[in-house]
């Protein structure tokens, strides 16, 4: 009985001597620091856009909606309105025709953030085929 216990403790002693804990901890810490520094938790989202249509390219633009984005107002077919009214109007016009193209034309001093807000709101109403163009004056 006592011989058995001594041989058992000898075996565990040998195992403990074989894999020393300190280098293992070193390696694990290095891996941990690497993954902490190299990984990113940014949650990227994407807005799907079509490339801008070519001016005078002959592509039929009939039936597409043209929305003017200005710094504090929006325009649809020459009518000035705010974002909520525009979303309701566009939602009504594209109801049943979800792939009806919607073209947004930001004015020269509009930031991308403002454009993205409009894109967001229109996407929430179910518009899918959105693209951006720029006006002739901002070339």
């Amino acid at each position: 009985m006592s011989a058995e216990t001594t041989s058992l403790s000898a075996r565990t002693d040998r195992r403990r001597a074989l894999i020393s804990l300190t280098p293992l901890i070193d390696v694990v810490f290095i891996l941990l620091v690497f993954f902490m520094l190299a990984s990113s938790f940014l949650d990227w989202r994407a807005i799907d856009l079509s490339p801008p249509v070519k001016a005078g390219g002959g592509a039929p633009l009939e039936g597409s909606l043209l929305i003017d984005i200005r710094v504090d107002t929006l325009g649809l077919a020459g009518e000035v309105m705010n974002l909520e009214a525009l979303a309701a109007r566009v939602g009504g016009l594209t109801a049943g025709k979800p792939d009806r193209p919607v073209i947004l034309r930001p004015a020269a001093d509009v930031s991308l953030q403002r454009t993205v807000e409009v894109l967001d709101r229109l996407k929430a109403t179910g518009v899918t085929g959105m693209s951006l163009i720029r006006g002739r004056d901002s070339l």
């Binding site: 891996l31 993954f35 190299a38 990984s39 990113s40 454009t115 951006l132």
Partner: protein, 133 residues
């Protein structure tokens, strides 16, 4: 003799108290390996636009960056404006992710999109970050 035994016990108990530490470190390691995504750093800082959209970016062929001061990078390499058309032509990607600064003029982004269209791009994803609630 008695002191020797006490020291050995102390060393053993020190060894044992390392084990929970290793457990925690392993857990952290596995968490960071699984939860984080390895991201290649961008060549310049970009503050992307905030949006409420929930579209997941698709895996796409090319990543184009446009910084707030007008610098452009394609797939992590800064490209001069004059050389851009050539670089885009040789890359000839049909799907592109576009990461642009939220403060940049929208007209500049559209100009970049026109260049991409001329290079044969058929669809592009505008990358955004979710707005903080």
């Amino acid at each position: 003799m008695n002191r020797l035994a006490a020291r050995r016990r102390a060393r053993q108990s020190g060894d044992d108290s390392v084990l929970p530490l290793i457990n925690v470190v392993f857990l952290l390691l596995i968490f960071f390996m699984l939860a984080g995504r390895l991201a290649s750093g961008d060549p310049f800082e970009i503050a992307p636009p905030k949006s409420l959209t929930d579209g997941d970016p698709r895996a796409q062929e090319m990543l184009v960056l446009l910084s707030g001061d007008g610098r452009i990078a394609v797939d992590g390499e800064v490209v001069e404006r004059e050389a851009l058309a050539g670089v885009l032509k040789t890359a000839s990607a049909a799907q592109v992710r576009l990461k642009a600064d939220g403060g940049v003029n929208a007209v500049e982004v559209v100009a970049l999109m026109e260049l991409l269209r001329d290079a044969g791009v058929e669809s592009l994803d505008l990358l955004t970050l979710p707005a903080a609630r």
